[in-house]
């Protein structure tokens, strides 16, 4: 599969590009979410006195970590993929390559890096005595793959629209910020007023935050129906995104 080989090449190149010329190299990808977690942990635990509701609820820091890591992978993948086409305009204008590869590589490299970070943080939590169910880790990684499918769908959609309407990339950080606070990343569904709790189901990311906590911390339950529905949504988004991308890709060069 030449396209797959090309995709692997671009993923390697993308990961290398991130740390090319940086002093700490790949360690940075582990360090950055750790620092972020430390800051959030301090502010929420010691300043806001945040607690996860429930009698046998996990501590706030592991609760936050398991929601935050997938979110960072998701948000970063989307951000990088959205500008993937204009960023590689020089390449697209001179070499005939399947453009899907560029978007795929941008999302995949984010997910690869943060999946590694996710595993590392789970192990770190274990070492600190947090009751993490390590048997849930393979299942959690499957969840990562499913989240990747969802992210890829949005990425194709955003990347193709960005070529035509340049407003998307600058608006995206604000959009993602809203999206993050509309997802149960910093809070549990139970912390919301009762009448708003149902609304979370319309947010495709909700399932993933709750999924990781369920399989690793046994906080909450995930029904088969929710799981199937989430997979369906992810596949649909991917199909829609890919169809849009396919339709617009032949015209990219005219607008770059």
């Amino acid at each position: 599969m030449p396209a797959l080989q090309l995709a692997l090449h671009f993923i390697r190149r993308d990961i290398r590009n991130r740390y090319l010329g940086s002093f700490s190299g790949g360690a940075w990808s582990l360090l950055q979410p750790l620092i972020q977690l430390a800051v959030y942990g301090f502010v929420f635990v010691y300043v806001f006195k945040a607690k996860v509701p429930g009698a046998d609820a996990p501590g706030y820091v592991p609760f936050l970590a398991l929601g935050l890591w997938p979110w960072v992978a998701f948000a970063e993948g989307l951000t990088r993929a959205t500008t993937a086409i204009p960023d590689n305009a020089a390449l697209i204008g001179k070499i005939a390559l399947p453009r899907e590869v560029l978007v795929f590589a941008a999302v995949a490299s984010s997910f690869l890096i943060h999946a590694v970070g996710f595993c590392a943080i789970v192990l770190a939590l274990c070492l600190f005595g947090v009751p993490v169910d390590l048997l849930g880790l393979p299942l959690a990684l499957c969840g990562f793959v499913q989240l990747f499918i969802l992210a890829l769908g949005f990425a194709f959609l955003f990347a193709s629209v960005q070529v035509f309407v340049r407003d998307l990339a600058p608006a995206l950080p604000q959009l993602l910020m809203l999206w993050m606070f509309a997802s149960p990343v910093f809070y549990a569904r139970e912390s919301l007023p009762e009448r708003y709790q149902g609304w979370l189901d319309f947010n495709p990311f909700t399932h993933y935050a709750e999924f990781f906590r369920a399989v690793l911390l046994h906080a909450g339950e995930i029904s088969v129906t929710t799981q199937t529905l989430a997979l369906l949504v992810a596949s649909l988004v991917l199909m829609l995104g890919f169809a849009t991308f396919r339709r617009l890709a032949p015209h990219f060069e005219d607008f770059l």
Binding site: Q5, H9, G21, G93, F164
Partner: protein, 426 residues
């Protein structure tokens, strides 16, 4: 194999047999007109709903090309004629607006300086990426790496970041990669011009070997020398349309003639002359019985009959001068009815005509113009000018404008090298 534009060829069977490597049919490309951001939004909406673009500028229109295996085609034309757009359409970088492009086999394209190179990476890493873009596996890349490095011949720079390369080195590396790919179809844009003399020669030699080995080439160049040396056919694009397509010598000569005429300046139009109410003015000039504006093509040593009709305001018979100039305006020969003691024929009350025949034309291949002027009966005042292009076809390595009668004395038979070269040319 003819280079003539063929219409309605049974080409699909040829494509499947691998004879035709590239084919375009009624190929057109237009860019959407996008001035404001609102236009971009509208374009997005139009594309999503499958309606195409609203307003466009056309850069390429109705191009029909066929490139068979083993053929070499040169694309020539002025800047902005659509040559690079055509190449991008052939390589699949651009999508045609209408018409079709079909390309078969492995295509090696050198479209622009350092296309696809990452400036921060070393030459070695960029070779790997470029090879991956061309669809080579990691093992194939490893096998070809020494060959590529040897061809590029840039010494220790191969391990330095590409941003430190000179433009010549980038071309060397790019060409070396394409050369190592052994493509079925090689497409190159004006990139050879950047390399130094030695490397240009190396590339030209490589392309010659490649062509001799059955390779197929599409070359864009402003160097008629390179086009004539490497290509058997040429296509002249003008304002996005095919102006001429066929044998390389005919097309390049027609193109050069056009270029020379353009730099010599366009003559004033017939209408403005007539409006001046001159004492004598030319009605028309026909060459070999045709009176179109297209340059007349004659073979070297052929015959040209020029006929001019002059309107005389007061019915007096004019003196008519015929002359041949090179396309840049250098006079070659001129003669008048008065010099040879003949009279133009009176066709009606006020119209006179004269015809002159140049048989066994001694002009060397190239582009010329035939000019005609009416003079007053005394042969003193010149009133009007009409000229038409004349292209003398053929291949010759002689210098100058005309072939003079000559004979070699005290020389032996031509040496073998000259013979060999002659057979190479034919």
């Amino acid at each position: 194999m003819t280079g003539q534009q063929s219409s309605g060829m049974p080409s699909d069977s040829m494509l499947s047999k691998g004879l035709l490597l590239a084919q375009t049919r009624a190929l057109s490309k237009s860019w959407p007109l996008v001035f404001r951001s609102r236009d971009r939004l509208r374009a997005l909406w139009h594309l999503l709903s499958g309606r195409g673009h609203a307003a466009t500028t056309t850069v390429l229109e109705g191009v029909d090309l066929q490139v068979r295996r083993g053929e070499s085609l040169g694309l020539i034309g002025e800047n902005g004629a659509g040559k690079s757009t055509l190449l991008k359409l052939l390589t699949g970088v651009l999508t045609p607006s209408t018409g079709t492009v079909q390309v078969h086999g492995r295509v090696g394209a050198l479209l622009e300086l350092g296309a696809g190179f990452h400036p921060e990476y070393s030459g070695r890493d960029n070779i790997a990426l470029a090879a991956a873009l061309y669809g080579l596996s990691a093992d194939e890349v490893r096998a070809k790496l020494p060959e590529i490095i040897a061809f590029a011949d840039i010494g220790n720079y191969i391990d330095e970041p590409v941003k430190h390369y000179s433009s010549g080195m980038i071309v060397r590396l790019g060409f070396a990669i394409v050369a190592a790919l052994h493509p079925d179809l090689l497409i190159t844009d004006e990139v050879l011009a950047v390399g130094d003399e030695a490397f240009q020669k190396k590339c030209v030699r490589w392309i010659e070997d490649y062509l001799a080995g059955g390779g197929t080439l599409i070359l864009v160049s402003h160097s008629m020398y390179h086009v004539q040396k490497l290509c058997r056919h040429a296509c002249w694009l003008k304002h996005g349309k095919v102006q001429a397509y066929g044998d390389v010598f005919e097309v390049t000569q027609a193109y050069l003639a056009y270029q020379e005429r353009k730099s010599a300046g366009e003559p004033a139009t017939r209408e403005s002359m007539a409006a001046q109410g001159l004492e004598f003015h030319l009605l028309d000039l026909t060459l070999n019985g045709e009176s179109s504006d297209v340059p007349l093509m004659v073979p070297s040593g052929g015959e040209v009959r020029a006929r001019a009709r002059v309107q005389s305001r007061d019915g007096r018979a004019p003196v008519i001068v015929f002359g041949i100039v090179r396309a840049d305006g250098t006079p070659v020969y001129g003669v008048s009815t008065e010099m040879d003691g003949v009279q133009p024929r009176r066709e009606s009350e006020n119209v006179f005509s004269a015809e002159i025949t140049f048989a066994g034309l001694a002009l060397l291949p190239g582009s010329y113009a035939i000019k005609v002027h009416p003079l007053d009966p005394e042969g003193v005042r010149l009133f009007d000018t009409l000229e038409r292009g004349l292209v003398v076809r053929g291949e010759s390595r002689e210098f100058g404008l005309v072939r003079l009668q000559h004979e070699w004395t005290g020389c032996t038979q031509p040496p073998a090298a000259v013979e060999a070269r002659r057979s190479l040319l034919s």
